[in-house]
Amino acid sequence: MPRDLSSLADILADARVWKLKDASAAPTRPVWSTGNSALDARLPGGGWPTASLIEVLLDQTGLGEVQLFLPALVECQRNIGPGRSDDAPWLVWIAPPHEPYAPALAQQGIELGRLLVVRPPSATEALWAAEQALGSGVCAAVLLWLKGSDDRWLRRLKLAAEAGGALGVLFRPERHRFESSPATLRLMMTQGEQEARLDLLKVQGGRPGPVDLGSP
């Protein structure tokens, strides 16, 4: 025991000690800009965190939920971080509700040659596929659409995202709002008066609350 308490530096170096300061400060890991300055300002580090899991809750498609991530996807396909192998920037879309429309994605600047669409037969298989893709280390981002899933799986996805250095985005129905989630970020998109509403439900190292997206 005395050996453990030898100095403050030793204690801080211990992986079991969680440092509050680090968590609230700007994360050292890189972020991808969301392409929306109002949203960037609300996110710690000024963008979507990489190597983490983001959960988006919404009941209806067409609210611009994919559009939120497209600028970041374009950016992460263009930039390869140091130390990443040459074939890093792949995007994997798992179980999208409709066909991703290639001309639209090309219009936005997505490199279609590095986009993979996976259609697993069931939700559990989709989670497995997402875990494989996130943990593979060759994907920049993995987008996953699910009707529902339990907490245990989300934790596995988060660990895989951290291990593989990929951005994982999970789209789920709004009814999961009150369940606990290990995701780094939780957003909720609902229909508003004129435009879609975006609420930050959980922001690690940031402040939750509604975001005014303004004009995109």
């Binding site: 611009g64 192998s85 409709h98 429309y101 994605l105 280390g137």
Partner: protein, 489 residues
């Protein structure tokens, strides 16, 4: 030349045979040139002493009666290839090995010969062997067996060949039985006696092929042979002592097979893109598990992953008694193939332990080929025809892929989701607007495809729902009906 061929020359004995039976009189060059009987032999140019080939022939008498001797010989070739790179099959039961090239490494000759014989002994095969400077001579000596001298015949010098061959029984040539019978009735039973006969006479009675055979045997004419090339495919089976009922237990048994397959590929610096696993049952046809890989590979881990993925999803119809792993055709591993430096990347990046083809394979092994695909945009005005799925994914390295897909210069943005089929909107436009729809952009007129029977004439709008959802709708110009075609997600 013509007249010379026409006149039979009684004195036209085989020069070398003369040399043997009158050892002191060397066959002079002009005599060789007179040798025009059936066909001109091609003596080696005097000025350039080419290194002669040396042939080791081995005959397996037992194989003469075996039904599938060709397959056995092929397997024996693989053993023989440990000694020389040139192995040739002489059906039905003999092999010919060129061993001149191996002498430096594996010689001296007696030593090499003894080692080769020991190789067959280890395989518990009865073998008769001989070494001679020409293929046929070696083969004939081997067929004659050790009965001549009690020891295997080893002839290195082509000049002594005719003398050594003189005592060979003619039966070892395996010529036509009728010819041999004729020769026997002429009192010719040994090779020496045959060599003393006039060349033209032999050619006339027994055909020019026999004369040619003799020329080849004596090393006067070269007879190119085709080398055995091993079948480049991995195929190995393993039988179980007990029947296996669960696919999970198969994995354990599969591991050594895959390890050997990967080793096989590595030795050949090749990879495979397809594998087949055959599971044999007590009765009924074998279950075949076919799998394709996204790219050519020889990596053991990738092969294991894909096979095990397949096995996990396999429903066994009956207990398995044995299995067989068969590789597809081997393909060279190109320098550009992604896993050539996979190990290097792994050590550098620390976590880059996977490659994209590997990931795609695993997903496809589990969900099927159709469920994993890419998308491409096509220069086409009709929205539903402006894209397609791509199942043949290309894993080119970054940079070599330029932006071929010219970002379409559509005036209006396109939606992220496109419906498979346009959905008819139930309400009329007036009603829609009353319900709070706003037409944000439009119209964009798309009129195309009249030439292939699926023409469209539509006005597209981007509409916004009151609550914020943005949709891509169009009005068909003929029917004036409204459809939903996409969502701006």
């Amino acid at each position: 030349m013509k007249s010379r061929r026409a006149t039979p020359q009684t004195a036209d004995l085989f020069a070398a045979a003369d040399a043997v039976f009158a050892p002191h009189s060397k066959p002079p060059k002009p005599r060789l040139s007179r040798y025009a009987g059936g066909m001109p032999p091609t003596p080696l140019p005097a000025g350039s002493p080419r290194p002669r080939q040396l042939w080791y022939a081995v005959v397996f008498p037992e194989l003469f009666y075996v039904e599938h001797s060709a397959a056995v010989l092929q397997r024996l070739c693989l053993h023989a290839q440990a000694f020389t790179s040139f192995v040739s099959i002489e059906p039905p039961n003999a092999l010919l090995l060129e061993i001149r090239g191996s002498l430096k490494l594996l010689g001296p000759l007696e030593h090499l010969h003894a080692n080769l014989d020991a190789c067959w002994r280890r395989l518990a095969l009865k073998a008769q062997s001989a070494t001679a400077p020409s293929t046929l001579a070696a083969l004939w000596f081997a067929r004659a067996g050790e009965s001549v001298s009690g020891r295997p015949v080893i002839v290195e010098d082509v000049a002594t060949l005719p003398g050594q061959m003189a005592t060979l029984p003619l039966a070892c040539t395996c010529w036509d039985a009728g010819h041999l019978q004729t020769l026997r009735s002429m009192g010719v039973t040994r090779m020496g006696e045959l060599l003393r006969l006039p060349r033209a006479g032999i050619a006339r009675r027994f055909g020019t092929d026999r004369v040619q055979d003799l020329d080849v045997a004596l090393g006067r004419q070269s007879a190119p042979r085709r080398a055995f090339v091993p079948r480049e495919r991995f195929r190995e089976r393993c039988d179980f002592e007990t029947e296996i009922e669960h696919a999970a237990y198969l994995e354990k048994a599969l591991e050594p097979l895959i390890a050997r397959c990967a080793q096989f590929l590595r030795e050949r610096q090749a990879g495979v893109q397809a594998l087949q696993l055959k599971l044999r049952h007590r009765e009924g046809p074998a279950t075949r598990v076919r799998l394709g890989l996204a790219s050519v590979t020889s990596e053991r881990r990738r092969l294991t992953d894909v096979l095990i993925q397949k096995l996990e999803r396999l429903e066994l119809a009956a207990p398995v008694r044995g299995m067989e792993l068969i590789s597809g055709s081997l393909q060279p591993l190109s320098a550009g193939s992604l896993d050539a430096f996979a190990g290097l990347a792994g050590t550098r990046a620390g976590r880059g332990r996977d490659s994209v083809p590997h990931l795609v394979e695993r997903l496809r092994a589990r969900f099927g080929d159709e469920a994993v695909y890419g998308v491409r945009s096509i220069a086409e005005h009709r929205p539903e025809a402006a894209w397609r799925r791509v199942h043949d994914l290309r894993f080119v390295s970054r940079g070599s892929q330029t932006a071929v897909q010219g970002t379409s210069e559509h005036g209006m943005p396109r939606p992220v989701w496109l419906l498979d089929e346009p959905a008819l909107l139930p309400q009329q436009p007036v009603q829609l607007l009353k319900d709070g729809w706003i037409l944000e952009q439009g119209p964009e007129r798309i009129e195309s495809g009249w030439w292939d029977g699926s023409g469209v004439a539509r006005d597209y709008y981007i509409a916004r729902y009151a609550q914020g959802a943005r949709l891509w709708i169009f009005r068909e110009r003929q029917s004036k009906r409204w459809y939903l075609h996409g969502m701006f997600a």
